[in-house]
Amino acid sequence: MSSDNTPMVKITIKRGDSFQSKYQTYEIPLQEKMSIFNALEYINSYLDPSLAFYTSCKIGKCLGCTVEVNGKRRLACTTIVEGDMTLEPDSRFPVVRDLMVDMSDQESS
């Protein structure tokens, strides 16, 4: 996938659940105009299949992919990766695992 001159970017992700968590950093090739969703897909598909996160529409409509990017709430699918970043789960919801939260009790829209 990545040739020698592809720029790399570091994605640090808060992993685990509300009881136990740690930060893990993945280094991935930075594609032009890739979204955080694309980055997570890349990590899950080719580096670490155990990474948990939610996606559906991938066009910013279902609002299911909300994560906290360097502390700010953002949609993973419409936010472009421009440099290193830290991702944490949406703090409004209970964490299932990693970036996957349970939105059952609260239907925000």
Partner: protein
């Protein structure tokens, strides 16, 4: 995952698989009948999965009803009628629609639209969409529809279980007794016993690597029905939208290029890498504004014959227009999609249109085929019903714009009426779960943890998508399809050698995708087999080696049934109530 597992068990009158347009509509209607209903969804809440929320969105209702019954005088045309709507649906579906289903559809559509209005939907405007001879496209906001469904489901106290992946039907002696699946959050298996099961699982667009549709639509409903020997139909007709970004990655599948060239708003030219305006070879009169079928075939031909761009698309160019005209592009009608698509700020992804073209590729957009139903959503398995995009029969070989939204509201409602009626009459009732079948499903699901082999799940999934794209895509011929079927055999073998590596219980994406991949393979098999057998071109099925529409031999539906590990095809005559095509061989696509 290890050999220890837990099964969460539920019991209800009706279980609805799918929480969006079709599923939610059915649940709201069922609540009137005092039945216990559980909705299960792959989504993290209603509106967080499925195609409904992604709609743009037009909803088709005959213009006469809009004008007279709903008093919508602007943009409508009272000259229209239900009969005209009926006719257009057949013309769009190239006559292999089931006319009894189409009849019920055009009759019910205004009533279901009335329900939505009563529940608070505010239509924006009415417009004439492609394939319709009258203005029937009521533009509605999909997020608003979702808010209405959420509100109604709350009011009716419908139980919704989120993040549930239903994987198999439970049945005995041809009678459905419930569903089996995975609670993706807890990692436990789940069984739901029910008198009636309604599949409202949407399409299988994610079988293809480029799609406009959400990630979880992997054709689960058709696949589980297929495995349970439920009849499917018209599987050779997955529809592609001609004109989406192949690149950049973030907006892959977004349909702005279609709007720039073909949607009738901005007159972009489609060019191959030699600068040829290739539509001239296919439709010299309408060019880029040709039918979606022909446009998709034309684009695909250029791409597959290596005349596309570096990202796998053809080019859409505005450079035939003077710069100082392009300056006004945001004032053209309606320009909003150039600024915004879903949550994207499109200006970040469009090049300077005075200088560069955008690349454009057809993307998997809709499944015309699916589970065979009668006019009350009954399948050939007692106790099993289906509604919405997961079904076949209404759209025939291709659907009209806006008619998928109408499909889900009309047929979700009809399914609910039929289920309520059948339960009341005692035609269906709770039959016992077959414990052995549950055990078998558990063992099958967990096979990826114990079977011998070193295949990676992701590599099989990637290759399934690649095979679908190359062999079950838009332009087909005998050798492509046969090669596809060979590759399919190989993929089925490789699937049995997948070794899963992730042992997490909670939201284990590798495991979820492993189960989905099985469904994608089943859908691919159905598409390839049906496409290989249909020796003609019709609607969204185009064969280079049989380029005409043959109404002498192929005014037929292909029904698929899974028997002794093999796919069997049955040719059936479409149900005709009023209109028949001329029994001649015609040029494709007109």
């Amino acid at each position: 995952m290890d050999s220890k597992y837990t099964i969460e068990t539920y019991k209800t009158d009706v279980v609805i698989v799918g929480s969006e347009g079709a599923g939610a509509t059915a649940a709201i209607e069922l609540a009137k009948h005092n039945l216990d209903v559980i909705i299960v969804t792959k989504g993290n809440g209603v509106g967080r999965s499925g195609a409904t929320i992604t709609g743009e969105a037009d909803l088709a209702v005959d213009s006469n009803s809009l004008y007279h019954r709903f008093n919508m005088k602007v943009g409508t045309d009272p000259e229209d009628s239900k009969e005209n709507f009926f006719h257009d649906i057949l013309a769009g579906g190239k006559y292999v629609n089931q006319q009894d289903i189409v009849q019920a559809h055009v009759e019910d559509a205004p009533d279901r639209f009335a329900d939505l209005l009563e529940w608070g939907l505010k239509p924006l405007f009415v417009t004439k969409m492609s394939g319709h001879s009258y203005p029937r496209g009521v533009i509605v906001s999909a997020p608003e529809m979702i808010r209405i469904y959420r509100k109604k489901l709350k009011e009716t106290k419908t139980k919704v279980l989120n993040n549930i992946f239903i994987h198999e039907l439970l049945y005995q002696n041809g009678v459905c007794s419930g569903v089996f699946g995975l609670n993706m959050v807890s990692g436990n298996f789940i069984t739901i016993e029910a008198k009636a099961v309604l599949l409202a699982t949407g399409g299988g667009m994610r079988l293809y690597p480029i799609t406009t549709a959400p990630e979880e639509l992997t054709g689960d409903g058709t696949a589980m029905a297929f495995r349970a020997v439920v009849e499917l139909m018209d599987m050779e007709f997955p529809m592609f939208l001609p004109g989406c970004f192949p690149w950049p990655e973030a907006v892959k599948g977004v349909n702005t290029p279609f709007k720039l060239a073909s949607a009738g708003m901005i007159s972009g030219h489609m060019l191959n890498k030699h600068g040829e305006r290739f539509m001239a070879k296919w439709d010299p009169i309408k060019m880029e504004k040709s039918t979606r079928d022909i446009t998709a075939v034309a684009m695909w031909t250029e791409i597959m014959e290596n005349r596309g761009g570096p990202h796998g698309g053809v080019f859409v160019s505005l450079k035939h227009l003077p710069d100082n005209v392009i300056d006004y592009i945001m004032e053209w009608l309606p320009p909003s999609y150039l600024k915004k698509y879903g949550g994207f700020d499109m200006s970040k992804f469009l090049p300077d249109l005075k200088r560069d073209a955008v690349e454009s590729v057809p993307a998997s957009h809709f499944f015309n085929g699916g589970i065979k139903i009668d006019i009350w959503c009954r399948t050939n398995m007692s106790g099993l019903y289906a509604a919405g995009e997961v079904t076949a029969g209404l759209h025939g070989a291709n659907r009209l714009s806006g008619n998928a939204f109408t499909d889900m509201i009309v047929w979700g409602h009809r399914a609910a009426q039929a289920i309520a009626e059948d339960i009341k009459k005692g035609e269906i009732y709770q039959t016992p779960l077959d414990k052995k079948q549950v055990e078998y499903y558990v063992t099958e699901a967990l096979a990826g943890y114990s079977q011998q082999g070193d295949e990676k799940m992701q590599s099989v999934r990637d290759d399934v998508q690649d095979t679908a794209w190359k062999h079950a895509g838009i332009v087909r011929d005998d050798s492509l399809l046969k090669e596809g079927l060979d590759k399919l055999q190989n993929l089925k073998e490789r699937y049995k050698r997948i070794r899963l590596t992730c042992n997490e219980k909670k939201y284990n994406k590798e495991f979820i995708r492993y189960l989905e991949t099985k469904n994608m393979i089943a859908n691919l098999e159905c598409i390839l087999v049906a496409a290989e057998n249909r020796h003609e071109s019709r609607g969204s099925h185009y064969r280079k080696d049989f380029p005409n529409t043959d109404n002498i031999k192929w005014f037929k539906n292909q029904v698929i049934i899974f028997k002794d590990g093999e796919v069997e095809l049955k040719l059936e005559d479409p149900v005709v109530t009023t209109e028949e095509p001329d029994r001649i061989i015609e040029k494709y696509g007109y």
